[in-house]
Structure formats: C-alpha cells, structure tokens
Symmetry: D3
Subunit: 243 residues, 6 copies
C-alpha cells in the first residue's frame, strides 16, 4: 500500500537540519521534517529551579509553542488566552523528560539548559521533531560550555531521537503527516536512545483499541525510523559551526 | 523478592469499591486501592462542547483534582494558584480519552457525561484508580439514562480499567504504591478494555531506559493486574443501587 | 409546624463525625450533618505568612471548596475558571477567623495550621459544618503537636461550633437544609464558643427585613443548636484515635 | 469616656453629601464621612445578567474599589494583581445585597443598575459609607428613569443606610474611624431600612467574643447612628439637581 | 472657525488644579481640564524595583486607571477582567517615562515615587492631564522628602506638561475634547519640558496620513497650549499647602 | 562619524525579504534587516470583531511576539507568565493601526486579516521591520482573496513601511541596531506611506529632551530610510510566488 504522499509504510519524510539558524543562542537548530519546521534553541542560564538548589546538579527543561499560523487554521496565541493548553503542557513535559534522560546533571553544574521548541510550520510529528532537533541544539550548547571551560566533563550520556508511528486505514506506518495523523486509529510516539533503548512510549488508541501484534509492528517501524533520524543528526553534527 | 509492603511482584493492593457514595450524582463511586482513595462521580449535562454541536453525538470528558492534603506534604490548591498544572492536565486528558474509547457517542445523544475524579488520599496510582472507578460511575450514569428512557440503546461498547506497572530495584512490579513510584526506574500506565486490548500505553524511563524484554514483562504484569481489577468492578456492579 | 423533612423548628439534623477519615493529615475529620458531608483536614506547616514573621506567633487559616458535583447541578471547578468566586472567599475567610478566635497563636510558635474544608456533598449549612468539623481537626492537630513535643502549652482557649438559623415561611428554624435555605426570608449564621459567646453573627434578609423580635428568636434557636453540636463534638473527641 | 477624636460614644462623624459630583452618570454622589471619601455612581445598563433574562425583572449590583493611595500605605491595584481580593468581593457583595433589598426589581424592567463605589480616601467605615451614598445615587438614577419615562412606577420600596459599631477599649462606640477600627475588639456593620428593620447584621469578634449585652448596646448605637445618616440623606435629596 | 464648544483653534479648556485633594499621600492633586477630572497622587515607597537595586538610584513610575463610569458608557473594571488593557498599559508607560525624564534619580536615593492617575471623569485628554497633574504631585512629594530631610538635593531638573493636538474637520486644533477626539483625522500628544524641549511626541493618523505642514501646525499649537498649562501649574505651586 | 558597524548615519542595514517562507498562510514573509529576523504571516478569517459586525466592513489586526531566545538573554514566554507585557501590547497596537491605515475596509467585506509578527531574532528595529514585512504579507493575502474572487476590488490604498531613527552620541542616525538603540538619547519610530505621508510618529527622549532641529534631522533621515525599504518591498513583490 502506498501512502497519500507516495511514501512506503516504513519510509520517513525528508529531513533537513540547519545548525546555527539564529546566532545568539548557545544552540540553535532549524529542523525540517517534510513540511514540519521547528526552531529549537538551547539557552544556558546560570541558575537552577528551587528544588535543585544546593545539590550541585544542573537541570534541563523544555518549552514548546506553535506560531498561530503554523497550522491550516490560525490558532489563538496562548499568551493572549492567558494560559497554556493541556496539549502544550503535555508536549513540553515530554520533551524535557526525554532530553533530561541523556544528561548526567551532576556534570552540568548548577545551571539550567532551556530547550525552546517553536513550531514555525506544523504538518504532524511536531513533538518528535522537537525532541530530535533539540538534541542537536543541546549538543551545541554543551560544546559551547566545554569550549569555554565552563564545564569540564561531557554530561551527555547518549544520543536521543523520536518518531511517531501509528495505524492508518488498518496499516502500520511511520512518521505520520497531519493528513494521516488526523485519521489514525492508533497514534504512538517513541523516544529512543542511540543505544536502542526506550525512554518514552506513548500509544493512544484514537479510534479502536490495539493489541500486542500491532504494538510489535509499531516498535519495529519506530526503531527503523529513529535509526534514519539519527543518521541525519550525526551528519549535521559532523559539519562544524561556530559562535 | 518481597516488596516493601509484603506484596509479591504481581500482586495488586486491596480494592474496595463503594457505589452511591454520594447521593446526588447520576454515578458516584468511592474507589479505594490500598490507601489511595478517589471519589469518582458521573454527571449528565444536557449539552455538548461547541465542536460536537449539531452532530447528534454526545461527549464524555473528565476532570481530575487532588485535595490539598491528599499527599504527605500539603499542596497548594490549583484554584488558589489560578491555573491547572501540567500534571493535572495530562491526567485528566488521559482519563477522558480512556473512557471515551468505550463509548459509542452516537448512542448518547447530544449530551455530555462529566467524570470528576477527586483524590481524597493519594498513595500512588491515582490516575489508574480514577479510570477504574470512573468506569463504574459511567456505567451507573448510563443505567440512569436508560432507566429514565433518556437514551434507548446502551452506548457502552466494552469495559475498561487501568493499572500502573514499573521497575523498582531492577524488578518489574505491578500496582506501585507511592513508596515504590517515587524511586521507580521505569513507570508505565496501561489502560485496557475488557476484551484485552490496549487503549493507552504510557511508559516513561524515570531513571534508566528500558528495552523490549522489560516491556514484555510490564505488559504481562499489567494484563494480570487489570484482570483482577475487572473482577472487583464486576462484583461491585452486580450489587444493586438506586437513586 | 412541622418542617419539610419532619423536623421541629428547633431540631437539628443527625450529626456524624469520623475522626481520622484520611490517615496522612495531622487532623482529618469527615463531618456529616444530614446529607451535608465535609472533609476537614488540619495540616501543620513550619512557617507563617510574611506579616507574622519574626513575631513568635503562629497562624491558623482555612480554605474551602466544593467538589463540582457536591450540588444538584454540577458546578464548574474554580481551578478551571482560574479564580475563586466571591462566595468561596467569604466562606473561607469566615472559617479562618472563627477558628483563629479560639487559638492563642503565641503558644503555637511560628507555624501555620491549614484547615481545608472540602465539601463532598452539599445540602445546606456547609460553612457552619466546616467550622464545626474543622474545630475537631484542629484539636487533633494540636494533640499531635503536643504529643510530639513540638509545642508545650495547649494553644486552644475555648471550643467552637457554628449553625445556621433563619426564617422560612414566616417561622424561625434552626439548621436549614438546602430545601429551606433556598427559600428562606432571613438567613443567619452564628458562630459561638463553648463558653456561650458570639464570635460571628451574620444575618442577611434575603426576602424581607427582620426586626429585633426575629433576632431574639434566631439567637435562642442558634444557641440551642450549637449546644447539641458541641455534644457531638465532645463525644467524637473522647474516642481515641492515633496516627 | 471621650474618643481619640473628641467624639462621644454615640456620635457619628461629620457627613457631607455632594450630588452630581460627576456629570455623566445617571446618579453620582460624593459622600464624605469624616475623612472617608467615596464616589458612588449609578449607571443604567439596558440588559440583565443571564439568570434574570426573560423574567421581566431588573437587577441591581455593586462594585467596590479603593484607589491605591486611599490608605496610609499604598496598596497594589487589583487590576495589576489580576484578581479581586476576598475583602473586595465580600464588600461588593454586601453593598449589592443591601441595595437590592429596597428595590422591587419587577418595576425596574429588564435593566441593570450598577452601583460603583470607589473609595478616594479611606478612614474606616468605607463599606457602610458606600451603602449610604449608593442609596442616593440609586434614587437619582431611578428619578432619571422615571423622568425619561423609561419606567412608570417607582421601584424603591424603602430607604437604606448603614453604619459600623464596635467595642473599643471595652466601650461600645458608633461610626469607627480607622484609628479605632484597627484595635476594636468587636466590629459590627448594620444595614437598616428607613422603616427601622435590619437588612444585614455582620458582627465579628476581632479580639474577644461578645455576649448578648454587648449586642444590645451595638444595636441601640447603630440605630441611632443610622437615623442621623438618614437625616443627611434626606437633606441631600431635597436639594434639586439636574443632568 | 469656531469649535463645537465655542473655543478657538488655539484655545485650551479651563484648568483647575487642587493641591492636597486627599490628605494622606505625599502629593495629591485633582486636576480638572474642562470636564476631564484626574486625581493624581504621589506615594513614596522605600524600595526600588529589582533592576535598580544596589545602584543608589531611585525610580519614578506611574499607574493609570479610569473609574468605570468616567465615560459616557460604563466600562468594565480591569480588576474584574483580570488584566490591564493595551490602552491602559500604553498610557501608564507614557506617564512614567515623561515624569522620569525630569528627575535625576541619583538624587532620589533608593526609593520609588509612585504616581497614580485615576480618572474620575473623562472628556478627552486624560493622559496629558495626568502628566500635567502628576508633575505637581511629584513636586509636592519631593518637597515632602526634602522638608523631612530624607533627601538633600532637589532631584527635579525641569518642569513638564503635556497636551493633545490634532486635526478635526481639516483644521488643526489644540486640547481636544472627547467630541473632537472621537472624529479627529490626526491625534498627537506632545510632552514638553519647561525649557521648551520635547520629551514625547506621539502622532497617529486616525483617518488620513498627515504631512510636514500639518506637523508644524501641531507643534506650534502644542507649544502654545503647554505654555498656558505651565502657567496654571506655576500658579498652583505658589499657593502653599501642608501635610 | 562612522557607526559601530561601519555604517554611515543615513545608511540602513541589509534587507532580505523571503515571500512564502511558510506555505500555509495566505501571506508569509520572512523579513531580515541586519540580524533582525521577523516572520510575518497574514491569515484571513471569515468574521470580524463584535464592533464591526453588520457594518459590511472588514478588519485588519496584528499580533507581535518574540521567541524567548530572540534576544541575548532569554526572556520568559508571555504565555507562561499568563499575560502580555505592556511593550508587546504597545507594539502590536502600533502595527495594527499602521496597516489598517492603508486598507479600505469597506472593500474587504466582513472578514479579518490577522498579521502575526513573530521575531525569530532581535537586533533592534523589530517593530518597524514587522510593519515593513507585514505589508508584504498583507499584499499577498489580498492577492489571494482577489485571485479566488473572494473580494472584487483591491482594498489597498497605499503602501507602507517603517523605520527607526534616533540620536546616538549626539548624532542623528537611521535604522538603529540593538547596540545603538540601548544607548540612544532619543528614539523615534516613523511609519510612512508610499505617497510620503506620516501614519505614525513616535519619538521618545530616553536620555535627554530634543528640539525642533533634532526633529527635522530625524524626519529627513527617516524618509530616506523608508524610501530604501520601499525599494526592497517592491523588488520582493515583483517576483511571483504561488500557494
């Protein structure tokens, strides 16, 4: 079965990663996966949240937002509404947990790395693109800290990337575009380390419940897709950039 | 290995379900799982959210809250803070999706069933206890609607229950108490239908990533635990109650 | 004249007090007056509000909330609305002032006792039931503090309870149920100490103004009702409970 | 015993009432009681709150606010804080109930009269001055409506005024200035109709509980004070004003 | 051409300035320009905002608000809405910047002067009247600080006043009343120092763009109007007042 | 005198305009002026604000926001703070007024064009770049509406662009970068139509007041700069783009 955009079931969309997209942040990455465009920046702040104070450990946290016209229909800004929606909160908590899972915060010192993921254009998979792009911004920020001798030892313990899988028209597929996402029977986000282990697994039956056989198909497709994303991450990271 | 409270790895805590705990709501269930106590009420409202208007379909939604002293340390009320936290939003969205997955909203008519899950005492597993208890409140509300001829056909397509599984001290366990939850390496919530299919699967590596073998162990334990919860649900539902 | 539920004008509803309803708080009381059910917990916090800092004095404060389906028609949560309503603020200020009036804060040390009154089911008189129940939770918290040698001298100077009186169909009655409250011409809340003095007196002519003769009738009925509540309080407090 | 400002216990402060202080509102009254200055305006709006719609009845409601430097120490604006405090809510609910109690809303038609009470300078008794002044603004708004034939029959059923009484240094006094209010043992606000009946009675033991004898003294002093306020109201209302 | 109220194009409305309108603030001025009435108070606070801490410099800031019935149609309070509108923010930022421009904050010491401008009645030109009145309140507060030896050297470097100019029916006019303001083609606010220099110039083409010739006419009219306002300021300041 | 970045006083920074930067909106323009990068999108909504309903006229409005790390130091998101700051409100009101001034809303029909200006990188002049870029997005949205026969007649009456001028180190300069803006004595924003008339003129003396001679220099420099911006606008608009 061919998908609406001609892809095979196990085929991810084209990935384009631009490091140093803006020049001010310690890390700044524009990640494009198909039409989805997310600007991921990493900002170092020389303090930690209250619960980390005095522990000698650092912190990694994320914020996620969509520009109002990232989507087909314009969305009201959450700043205008005066509060964050549940979807935004869920996503930024997920991104933060994911990135924290590969950082040894004891090597970061008492400082915070903020990962801001701002969706310029949304065509499905914005949360997984955010994780995949934020990882590169995080690497750049860590390099910056080590280059300037702010920290001595690399706090990164592993690499990380994420992808969506799901069931559309009874068929398991990877890297769903909005067209597919909006009518998927099951939608699952998988976050995996470079060493091939799970960090997050979030599967939701949107239309009908799924069984163990579906799950196995999702995991296989997801791992394949994440491997391809990691190749793109590695290629982007080998090209040097300065600040 | 015996757990901190003497349970085996595959043993869930004692379950106590009180139907009609309060007399006003169409469904009102106090569910106690170990020391965790959640009051789940189902309220029928004769209108639907704007996006469902004119569709002929109904809606099922959930709200979740903890009393300030449900926990060891008193928490500030979200009403006093002026906004819902991310954790609350995540949980109530999960409960809503879970319960909706077993309802044929076309048979509900243009009305909403609100499932309010208020945690009176929290000792781990409050979100899964909420789903398990809210299902019974939902059944009672549906019975109420059918008894009063408000709806003709039963909109419930399946039963549903949920449980937490995780890895504590390197060991997979089911139905984590707070003592275990707070130091779990992996924490996973499983929502399953009576027909044994997955509705939600949310696994998070709190401490270290997990692999396929861990996942298999979690799913096996989870299914076992959910079977036991469903026995408690069935037993509670066979005893008659009025309103 | 017999009332809608068969009571005489000077007859209060059945009172049921359960100490230690939840096990975590320093004081935890479920008070049931007729169908009105309020969970009152007392929580000790080792700090005081800014205006008490450095005075050596403690503080006692209260928060009040109703579960959304405590009432016949479901109410929107104040946490969802993003702010407390005027009624809630009025009531929690009243409860706080009432309980503070029997505490010698100089004997409490620089700590706060939070009294959380959460209405599980509302059938009139929730604010007076909250005061009556919170007093017992406060006693238990004080016992806890003295038992653990946190404080040396009992800061409680008197006992306290509260009741509603009013005029319904031209007749003065005590302890109004919602059925009566909703059509009362006058509604008055009386808070009294064990020594028989007034702490608060709040009378409102809902329908028509009242005169001195009405007031005298209200005070007589109120005092009688409060005496009966105090008997229930005393009985509950003689039975031992632990934590 | 002479009071700090030379007054006798039963003596109220000088009262000055300026009708038409601002020219736009249907009623606009600057009331000065001692140093307390409140601008009370009455505004007619041609619609009612949702709960009154279709009843043919009108509505009367009040809002209360203090300018930030009405008090000795500047207070932060509630508009800047982003929410109303409990004290403000309590007071504006009291003012609204008080004024509604003398209006036959069926004669008002489906329109709302807003009573805005803005305290320009606060020296005790701002809520009672607000009620006393708002009554005159209400009279002017009603005259305006009748003069313009918007309504035919006078909806005012009685006049209304309010005063504070209390116990200071063991002595019952009327019309407390801030100096007295801040150290009163008991503080009571009395709202009374021209026909000498109670509309509201709110007594609070700030320092020590009070008994029936105290209460009788308060009521006597309060009635005397209110009589004097009503003389000032009548005098102000006999002088003509236009718009 | 004569204006709607009989004024010439270069004629400002009658100005009335009352110092010490309320007695508590360090500076308190009621300024009336035509029917526009603004109460401007100056309050000294013995601390500065975080960004000024430790600099030895003081701060001057302003807040602006309109009473709900200052205008023909009643406006909802911003405290009730829960947030400040854009217009309010714009105006209070303008007032603050304007007054700060004539203060040498190094001579003020680490303290803040709050300028509260509350519009009791609005008939056009409320922001410029606020600046003109707040200057006098500021002078009084500075006198108070110097009289009480809190500061030694006068921090005021110049005087300041403001006026509106605009184009109505193709004609440049000064000091627009609401009647004119609401249909002006161009509306410009000019803030000027006593030494005749510009502090702020804010011109907006409401209806049609304007050119250099218009601008010159505005500036000439504006300077003339401001000179007249400054005469009123000086006259008010020569009359002594105490506190 | 040469400026910090080598520019002459009357020299603007390099301008780069990318139409169709994102593909979903009716207009989408990335404007880069020096290091300042703003994404301006135009979105058509088929309804108008309440005050325009039934008039047959359309509406044009703007929203402005900065990504948190658009600046050297990361700023907290306004969505997280729960409210818009005064600066944001001021700017988005300015952008909205500016663009509305060149639109004949009667030709737009009852629909709204939203202009969203999101600053990806900020190096001074973000509000003027927003106006200059939003004009192009607006042109594209109008072309879209005309191409799809939604509207018949071009509602655009003129073109529009904006620039900042100011006084830095006693020297008048155009198009200030952040380095200059932060220490400018005077800062002025000029919005001009293609026909060379003023739409907005906002000059603020940050450090010291300015006189008529300064103003003349600012206006000359501003007009020159705006002419250059308009050349860039025209060049960008001649290249075709599709959607």
């Amino acid at each position: 079965m061919v998908r609406f955009d001609g892809r095979n079931c196990d085929e991810i969309r084209e990935v384009k990663i631009t490091r140093g997209y803006t020049v001010v942040p310690e890390g700044s990455v524009l990640i494009e996966i198909g039409k989805t465009k997310v600007l991921c920046t990493a900002s170092v702040e020389e303090r930690v949240p209250p619960f980390q104070k005095g522990t000698g450990h650092g912190w990694v946290t994320a914020e996620y937002s969509m520009l109002p016209r990232a989507t087909e229909v314009r969305n009201q800004r959450e700043s205008t509404k005066g509060k964050l929606g549940g979807r935004t909160m869920e996503i930024q908590r997920l991104i933060g947990r994911a990135l924290r899972s590969v950082v040894d915060t004891s090597k970061l010192g008492e400082r915070t790395i903020w990962l801001d993921c701002d969706v310029l254009q949304a065509d499905g998979g914005t949360r997984t693109a955010s994780i995949t792009g934020a990882y590169i911004a995080l690497v750049d920020a860590v390099k910056y800290l080590m280059h300037h001798k702010v920290i001595e030892n690399d706090p990164l313990m592993d690499s990380i990337a994420a992808i969506s899988v799901g069931k559309v028209n009874g068929q398991a597929v990877v890297d769903l575009a909005y067209e597919e996402d909006s009518k998927a029977e099951v939608d699952m986000n998988i976050v995996m380390t470079g060493s091939g282990k799970f960090v997050e697994l979030q599967g939701t039956a949107e239309g009908r419940p799924f069984d163990k056989t579906d799950l196995d198909a999702f995991l296989t497709l997801g791992e394949l897709g994440i491997r391809k994303l990691m190749e793109s991450q590695n290629k982007a990271l080998t090209a040097e950039r300065g600040r």
